[in-house]
Amino acid sequence: MLFLSLVLLVVFPLRASTPTAGVELSVVGAGPRQVEPTLQQSITRDYAKAWQTFSVALQSGDSAALDQYWAGVAHDKFQRLVEDQKSTSVQVRYVDKSHQLQAVFYPADGAALVLYDTAQLEVQVFNSGKLIHSKGLTQRYVVLMTPAQDRWLVRVLQSVPLP
């Protein structure tokens, strides 16, 4: 039985958890262009992956992970955050639990998408490996995403006060 289980695990490896879990998107009121259903799927998938790669970059200390789903200003800022971890011995972890995305602007040329994200996060701060801060919070972000070859990249992710 154990042998059979091992064989099954090798032949059918466990699937990774779905990357879109915890990300919900509303396009009500977005415009002037209609946000097509395929785009909605891309946005939820790529935004979730962007947070995953951000988390990986912070944990591994390797900012190269950001290159996959981050660009421009957001990429540069988070790259510095990752690098600052090395120089300060302070580690930051953003445990993102859920994201409520609201699309607000999608121009006629389809060259960008502006959204708000109301995120449930837990922020953990470690100093030389010791947990010195851990707090759950609701954070609102303004998000600017732009299309690349096969995905949407996060170009701006900026926290703003809750309404």
Partner: protein, 286 residues
């Protein structure tokens, strides 16, 4: 005795509050400003500031102001400040708002547009401060479309959610136009090429030459009177006793011309896009 203890307690609390490690933070400040934060207590402490894109960690002497530089608080967003001392671990938070606009990211679309298209030119402007923070508060953005052969068009749009967008009809005349977005004294400029639309009407004439005929258009124009761009295709068709001949010719400097083989009585016509030309009948050289 009870009375003397009661009298002692406020003094004790006062002493604790004076000597307890603490730091005062503002509720909100502007990106790139310098902060001098009051600290209390005695001895040394470690201060950790976590910004959206930057971490500051340093030893400080309690009781002296904690200085944060413009670079330390350059990113807009929520900051966490943690003070670690021998007797306390304190965390506080504050918000950094974007500074005034320093540059505009301006997307003009398309880069080439036919004349007289309703809402044919669109512009989207995102204002950023000197620290690359998106200025998310509402701002008036002035859009201006100007060119040599058109009256200047201006629109003011108040940005919402960090973005201001406008759609403007493309001008009646071809040529390059300047499209600008300006806010807070910052201007971004793009050039949009306005090109002639599809041919509107087509008129041709033909004459016998050598062993056939030569057919030529009059200057081919769009419905606004602009010459169509070089390279626009005109299809000439000739019928004679031997059958039909069709030749595509490109417009050069507004005119397309072609030589067609023909014998005897010939009928010639032309078409380009949705425009059909007149029909010409002539006698080819024998």
């Amino acid at each position: 005795m009870k009375r003397s203890i009661a009298a002692f307690i406020p003094g004790l609390l006062l002493a604790i509050s004076v000597f307890a490690a603490d730091v005062s933070v503002p509720r909100q400040t502007i990106a790139g400003s310098k902060l001098s934060l009051k600290t209390s207590g005695t001895g040394d402490a470690t201060i950790v500031v976590i910004g959206p894109g930057h971490i500051v960690s340093k030893r400080i002497a309690l009781g002296k102001p904690l200085e944060l530089t413009a670079d330390d608080i350059a990113d807009a967003g929520r900051y966490i400040l943690i003070l670690l001392s021998s007797d306390a671990e304190i965390d506080k938070s504050f918000v950094v708002m974007p500074a005034k606009p320093a540059h505009v990211s301006f997307v003009a679309h398309p880069s080439r547009v036919p004349v007289a298209i309703k809402n044919g030119i669109s512009g989207t402007a995102y204002a950023f401060d000197a620290y690359d923070n998106l200025v998310s508060e509402s701002l008036p953005v002035d859009f201006k479309l100007s060119g040599n052969r058109m009256p200047t068009l201006e629109r003011e749009v108040v940005s919402k959610n960090g973005v201001a967008a406008v759609s403007i009809d493309s001008p009646q005349r071809e040529g390059p136009v300047t499209f600008q977005a300006a806010t807070g004294g910052v201007i971004a400029t793009r050039i949009v090429r306005v090109v002639a639309d599809e041919p509107c009407t087509l008129r041709i004439h033909a004459e016998p030459v050598g062993k056939g005929i030569r057919a030529q258009t009059e200057p081919v124009k769009d419905c606004s009177g602009n010459l169509v761009p070089d390279g626009t295709l005109v299809t000439f068709t000739a019928w004679d006793s031997q059958g039909r001949s069709t030749v595509d010719a490109s417009v050069k400097k507004g005119i397309a011309q072609v030589n067609l083989p023909a014998k005897g009585e010939v009928t010639v016509s032309a078409a380009s896009g949705v425009a059909l030309g007149n029909t010409v009948r002539l006698q080819a050289n024998p």
